[in-house]
């Protein structure tokens, strides 16, 4: 029992970061049909910003806020400068994102080299409860993610903007007929998704050292989570992220920890075999006229 809780918390803390990616990937896909594979690099940039800020004496909490802002601005610029021109053909957006992976990685390597980077743990407390050792930093990551994801969820399901966003996802033309400025919502979703990736990057570097190549593995899992939940489905991404966290935690604790990735991708394959549209049913992206 004791080790179980510990392992699940470990799994959930990594899954938190992955869920933050998955939410961004799924929101952007739902509205634009673009699968942004560079989202992992957005996360990595978030880690780098946090690392730079902390190295310059800024507190970790301010640093992750800064990471969110910087990556959000980057997402805004990339949407206005690149992705905007691929909206009629989302496959082109996907190809653009593949190119961006290389560009972003190498910009980071050019300025800050390819070595591993880490920051001192923002929280060092280890709670001991009946033989269970719980690192507070992991709990912090889970709580911040849960809070941010819950806020995103409420905004999408309850607010007037969320309603307009869901309408735009379902039928872009008809949403425009309601007076909804769909293009502005597309920009907004890129900015929101990027901010979440920036946050994920800040949280990730609080858990583990990162390299300029960290984004690749993270986006693969983020994409797997988004697919499992149903691409374009926010609830699906969150629930699948939770499942992934538990499975990874259990597999690391009771199975063979070097097989953790195989368990998560195996799970994704199983889900897609039996439910090709994901657990909660995905969207097929925007209808193209």
């Amino acid at each position: 029992m004791d080790i179980l809780l510990q392992q699940i918390l470990n799994g959930l803390s990594i899954a938190s970061v992955i869920t933050l990616i998955a939410v961004g990937v799924t929101l952007i896909f739902g509205l634009t049909g673009i699968i942004n594979f560079a989202h992992g690099e957005f996360l990595m940039v978030g880690s780098i910003v946090t690392w730079l800020a902390v190295a310059n004496g800024i507190s970790f909490w301010l640093a992750i806020l800064l990471a969110m802002i910087v990556v959000a601005v980057m997402g805004f610029a990339l949407e206005r400068g690149l992705f905007r021109f691929t909206l009629e053909r989302p496959t082109n957006g996907f190809i653009v994102s593949l190119g961006l992976i290389i560009v972003l990685q190498h910009i980071v390597i050019f300025f800050w080299n390819a070595n591993q980077k880490s920051i001192p743990r923002p929280l060092n407390t280890i709670w001991e409860m009946g033989g269970v050792r719980i690192a507070s930093v992991r709990v912090m990551v889970i709580f911040i993610t849960a809070a941010v994801v819950a806020m995103t969820f409420v905004a999408v399901t309850r607010s007037r903007y969320g309603r307009a966003l869901r309408a735009s996802v379902e039928d872009r033309d008809t949403a425009a007929l309601m007076g909804i400025p769909v293009r502005r919502y597309i920009t907004g979703v890129f900015v929101l998704g990027s901010a979440l990736a920036g946050l994920g990057g800040g949280l990730l570097i609080a858990l583990f050292p990162i390299t300029p190549f960290t984004g690749g593995t993270m986006v693969m899992k983020g994409f797997a989570v988004a697919l499992m939940g149903g691409l374009g489905n926010l609830t699906g991404a969150v629930v699948a992220g939770l499942i992934l966290g538990i499975v990874e935690g259990l597999s690391a604790g009771y199975g063979f920890s070097e097989w953790t990735d195989a368990y998560s991708f195996g799970l994704m394959i199983l889900v897609l075999l039996f439910r090709p549209n994901g657990l909660f049913g995905g969207t097929s992206g925007p209808k193209m006229a």
């Binding site: 007037r160 869901r166 309408a167 039928d171 425009a176 309601m178 007076g179």
Partner: protein, 239 residues
């Protein structure tokens, strides 16, 4: 004139759909555009709503040149299209659909009141308030689509084939609703129909469209009597 369309030409790719269409609409007037399938009626409405950019010609709405403006801008100006095939948001509740219709408005209390108004005007919407739009029948979806359009408090409501796929009984109901729109909501109606019976019973003036051009136009009584119209059009269609 509330709306003056002059010499509008539209097309998709190499295909020309509308060729030099001109039309006017006055405040609270109900005008219909009749014509066979493929005549270019829907494209004309989609152009007015901003979904299709015209190749040439102009649209003057309430004194402002609004030619080629984007659909969200047109909706904000009060030109609201109830599209062919209803295009209800199927994953969203009836109430959410209604509230989306009021997206351009900021007057929260008045929006709440208008939701109530729609629910009394279309009682079925009150019954189905919490149901997903996709669970509604065709007729109910049409009611919702019209109500959603009215939620914008439009100055011009563009109705594209509201009778499509509906039983004669429901067509009768739609007819009553269209006649009420001007009085209850102060909007003008531009109605595109293949069902000439419905169109002729609600409109005061009409345009007959054929191969993308206005073949003839005039007061509804004249159109009703026209032998050309009968031959073109009324023959095959049940009214």
């Amino acid at each position: 004139m509330l709306l003056t369309i002059s010499d509008i030409t539209t097309g998709y790719g190499p295909t020309i759909v509308n060729r030099g269409v001109s039309l006017t609409l006055a405040t609270r007037e109900i005008v219909t555009v009749l014509g066979p399938n493929g005549a270019g009626k829907s494209t004309l409405l989609r152009t007015l709503a901003g979904l299709v950019k015209p190749r040439s010609g102009s649209v003057i709405f309430d004194g402002a040149d609004v030619t080629g403006q984007a659909p969200d801008v047109m909706a904000k100006r009060g030109m609201v299209l109830v599209p062919e095939g209803r295009r209800i948001f199927t994953d969203m509740t009836v109430e959410e659909n209604l509230r989306l219709g009021a997206y351009t408005r900021r007057d929260g209390d008045a929006i709440d009141a208008d939701v109530k108004t729609m629910e009394s005007f279309f009682p079925i919407l009150a019954v189905k308030r919490r149901d997903k739009g996709g669970s509604l029948s065709g007729g109910q979806q049409q009611m919702l689509a019209i109500a959603r359009g009215l939620m914008a408090r439009p100055r011009i409501l563009l109705l594209d084939e509201p009778s499509l796929g509906l039983s004669p009984l429901l067509v009768k109901e739609i007819q009553g609703i269209i006649l009420d729109i001007g009085e209850r909501f102060g909007a003008s109606v531009l109605l595109v129909e293949q069902n000439a019976g419905l169109a002729l019973s609600v409109a005061s003036r009409g345009y007959l469209m054929q191969n993308g051009r206005i073949a003839t136009s005039g007061p509804i009584e004249e159109l009703r009597d026209m032998s050309l119209m009968r031959e073109l059009y009324l023959g095959g269609v049940a009214g």
